[in-house]
């Protein structure tokens, strides 16, 4: 594997891990892209994707009291909103306050759900 395309590997792996269903995303790859990742444990891939989302959720909870209040008051609605946010907004933030700003911007954008606050 001396000519392994590292950049493509990382891009494809990241795209699968932030997809709503990583296995559906894996299956949708073309053969060359799929060969970059496989063979790979599908359960492990799903678990990694869950943890990527969970870490983002935690960043948001640490950065936004408003999001925390929404989650506390209506966990089902908040969870649905967070899933839509995670699926539609790339994870560009490493720090909680930046994640909070990105979430607030998404909430106030057209078509996004409104928090009760």
């Amino acid at each position: 594997m001396t000519n392994f395309d590292l950049e493509s590997y990382e891009r494809v792996m990241a795209s699968v891990l932030i997809a709503p269903d990583p296995i559906v995303a894996l299956d949708a790859l073309d053969a060359d892209e799929r060969a970059l990742l496989e063979p790979i444990d599908h359960d492990g891939l799903r678990m990694a994707a869950l943890l990527v989302a969970r870490l983002r959720f935690e960043r948001l909870m640490h950065g936004s009291a408003r999001a925390g209040e929404w989650f506390e008051s209506d966990p089902r609605a908040f969870t649905q909103a967070f899933k839509r946010y995670h699926a539609s907004v790339p994870p560009l933030s490493t720090f909680p306050l930046d994640e909070a700003r990105a979430f607030e911007a998404w909430v106030t954008s057209d078509g996004a759900p409104r928090s009760p606050a």
Binding site: E10, D41, R46, V52
Partner: protein, 290 residues
């Protein structure tokens, strides 16, 4: 002498509850980026925990080591501006905390500007090892002794027992070290179905500067359509007896080991846990004093 270390975490309740334990250790391990925030203008500046951690270390005269998550050692094409920001912040923090060494995680967390935070597994190829070596060299411009932890990978291309050779290749840079996380080895072995001893015996043990021990939970079977439960790197339970056994067996075989660290995650410590953590630190002290 091998130092005993404990993690400081960015949560007031955690710091309050674990405060009586801090005198029992020699060193505090700090995740630098948990003490930062961005100022919105491209600079990383200290958040409130920066001063709290520094006050605790100063008050108790503790040494500090750094263990980050998101420097992204394995990124194929790291963002130069981000790298420069991080190195500047780490330089300032090293001057403040006196970090004796700086480790991060094997893997890539930053890809095309996206921050996944969970380290992505690297393929065991020369190009990936070269990226890790280049990143370690960049870190050495700020902290001379650097390294990485063997990460948990829930899904990995290739044979996990090939990883030790890849790690050795990544660590060919002088003064680059391995942080051997025994819980990570043990739980990855459980998830992937291999013998953790076979993995550890293949590692470059002379490069181990620090060992991590921690506990971890098992995932809810409802999380996966297959109903499978997987071991997690959650740092939220007692250290498993199997991990203690690995520590007892392998600590004497790491000739350049400088610290044994008990890790615990914020949000996982209640009053009832403090006695357990005290006992774990006592047991860990015995291991490094043996």
């Amino acid at each position: 002498m091998i130092a005993l270390a404990f993690t400081l975490q960015p949560e007031e309740r955690y710091l309050e509850l674990t405060a009586p334990l801090h005198e029992l250790v020699d060193v505090f391990e700090i995740c630098p980026e948990t003490t930062w925030r961005s100022d919105g203008a491209g600079r990383l500046i200290p958040n409130g925990f920066h001063a709290m951690f520094l006050a605790r270390a100063t008050e108790l005269d503790k040494r500090c080591i750094a263990h980050g998550v998101a420097f992204s050692l394995g990124s194929a094409r790291p963002d130069p501006a981000r790298r420069a920001q991080w190195l500047e912040r780490i330089r300032e923090d090293r001057a403040t905390f006196g970090f004796e060494w700086y480790t991060d995680h094997l893997g890539a967390t930053e890809i095309d500007g996206q921050s996944l935070v969970l380290p992505l597994p690297l393929p065991h190829v020369d190009a990936a090892a070269e990226r890790v070596r280049a990143s370690l060299s960049a870190l050495q411009s700020v902290v001379p002794d650097v390294g990485f932890e063997n990460s948990v990978f829930y899904a990995q291309k290739g044979n996990p027992l090939d990883e030790p050779d890849f790690i050795a290749s990544c660590l060919s840079v002088p003064r680059s070290h391995l942080l051997l996380d025994l819980h990570n080895v043990w739980m990855t072995a459980a998830n992937a179905g291999f013998d953790p001893e076979r993995y550890i015996e293949r590692l470059p043990l002379e490069r181990v500067i620090e060992i991590h021990i921690s506990g971890g939970n098992v995932s809810d079977p409802a999380w996966l359509p297959s109903g499978r439960a997987m071991r997690l790197d959650s740092h939220d339970t007692a250290v498993h007896e199997d991990v203690w056994a690995l520590a007892e067996r392998w600590i004497p075989r790491c000739p350049n080991l400088r610290a044994l660290t008990l890790e615990r995650m914020e949000g996982t410590v209640e009053e009832d846990d403090v006695a357990l953590l005290r006992e774990e630190l006592r047991r860990a002290r015995k291991l490094v004093s043996a």
